[in-house]
């Protein structure tokens, strides 16, 4: 074997993404889609949120054309039914995911380390093409560790604020912790916009990372060249 061939040697690295994690990840995709869609049907019935700067409306959640394009109006009852059924799958899937990462030790790759917050900026600079080199990483880089941990905390936040607005009398203490009923509803909504932003960045990063990376989330194995 000459040097060139040697360099092109591929090696399969087993179990980059354990089967369980692939299941939790992909189950979450249609379930969260249903939760966001049905949440939108519910939100439409009272949609006061907007981002204003000095009296000028920057973003309105949401303009008429947006609701109309997604066929949202006058479907509150339908939205509530889907939301309060699929909530169970969302919660159970989330608990299983967190439980699995905790028990399997996978959390070691996912939780931010002490230097992750400093390194995450370097990752961002690198991804924006400003910085040439990446900080050293194992399975996930510092920005990924922060993002993938934050999304779990956000999931917990959605669960708790959801409960707070679902049972504001029986669980009045929880509603109070989140600043009262209207505030809990606002946080619940804001977290959802967070998921949508996460999704957009996530998909862009996956596209950028390329085929081998995407494949590993389906097959589980990684291919490295040596």
């Amino acid at each position: 074997m000459d040097d060139k061939q040697q360099k092109n040697m591929k090696r399969i690295v087993e179990n980059k993404h354990p089967l369980a994690i692939r299941w939790f990840h992909w189950i979450n995709f249609p379930v969260l889609t249903v939760m966001i869609w049905s949440g939108l049907l519910i939100y439409w019935a009272y949609h006061p949120y907007k981002i204003q700067v000095a009296g000028f409306t920057l973003i309105e959640f949401f303009p008429k054309w947006f609701f109309a394009a997604l066929k949202v109006p006058f479907r509150l009852a339908e939205g509530m039914a889907w939301h309060f059924v699929f909530q169970w799958i969302f919660i159970i899937n989330g608990i299983l995911y967190v439980g699995y990462t905790a028990i399997s030790g996978e959390w070691r790759y996912l939780l931010p380390k002490r230097n992750s917050f400093a390194e995450a900026w370097q990752v961002v600079l690198h991804d924006l093409g400003i910085r040439k080199t990446m900080p050293p990483m194992d399975k996930y880089n510092a920005a990924q560790r922060i993002a993938y941990s934050a999304i779990v905390v956000m999931g917990l936040g959605s669960f708790l604020t959801g409960l707070a607005i679902y049972k504001p009398t029986q669980l009045w203490w929880l509603t109070t912790i989140f600043g009262g009923y209207p505030t809990a509803r606002l946080i619940h909504f804001a977290l959802t916009t967070g998921y949508v932003l996460f999704f957009l960045v996530h998909v862009a990063q996956v596209a950028k990372a390329g085929w081998n990376n995407f494949r590993s989330m389906i097959t589980g194995f990684d291919v490295v060249k040596e």
Binding site: A45, Y46, L76, E78, M80, A81, T176
Partner: protein, 268 residues
Amino acid sequence: MNNNDQTPAMPEREMLTTDQQIRRRTIKAFAWFGLASLVPLGIWKYVAAQPRVAGLPKVLRDALNTNEQIANAYFSNQHLAPTFPLEQAAKTPRVNGKDGMKSAFVVADWTLTVQQPDRPPLTLTIDDIKALPKHDQVFEFKCVEGWSQIQHWGGVRFADFVAKYNLGTKSGQPATGEADYFRHVGMTTPDNGYYVGLDIASAMHPQTLLAYEMNGQPLTEPHGAPLRLIIPVKYGVKNLKRIGTITFQDDRPKDFWAERGYDYHVGL
């Protein structure tokens, strides 16, 4: 160990080059992935094909009824809606919904009818209601649409009303426990244009009022004069205005919005 064992045949995979292995395993994994992604599609089709029960696919309706069982397991009269200082109450509480309020109606001629199985109906006047201890309540009213408003209502506790007139028990005797009561209470407007069904536990919650005052004044007609229901353990849709008839029964009474695709329970 049996020393006579022959060398096992080489597994097929080891005869393949790395590239071939990658190819095979990728195709296999993506085929499974494609198959698995048919599952959510199938669930969607399954729900869409369900017979409708009061405007909802049956499987969703059944799941909501299961949610109700779970909610009931945690329900307690000790869990109270937070109350607020008087000055936080809205000066002009929002009016929402005119169903059951569209017929000609004279407040002064109003009487309340109470129906119970196998017993003659009871007819009461507003003075009979006002004879009971009055309670003022400032709480956050919550509409199923998502808005909420702090409002001030005055009236009598439904539980006091039930105790005073010895209502709602199957035996006709004062209740010794929750099981003595009929399981549900239905309320309708005088013209039957709007109607709600309540589980007895929610009706007997200490914050459930038969209200005749708003902001310390007699109820106005758009807010349900002369007597309306205020029930903080439910969304606004159950807070029936202009009560005409109250009925105790075991079966679920009919419910205006539950017939139109909403959850029956809507418990908060």
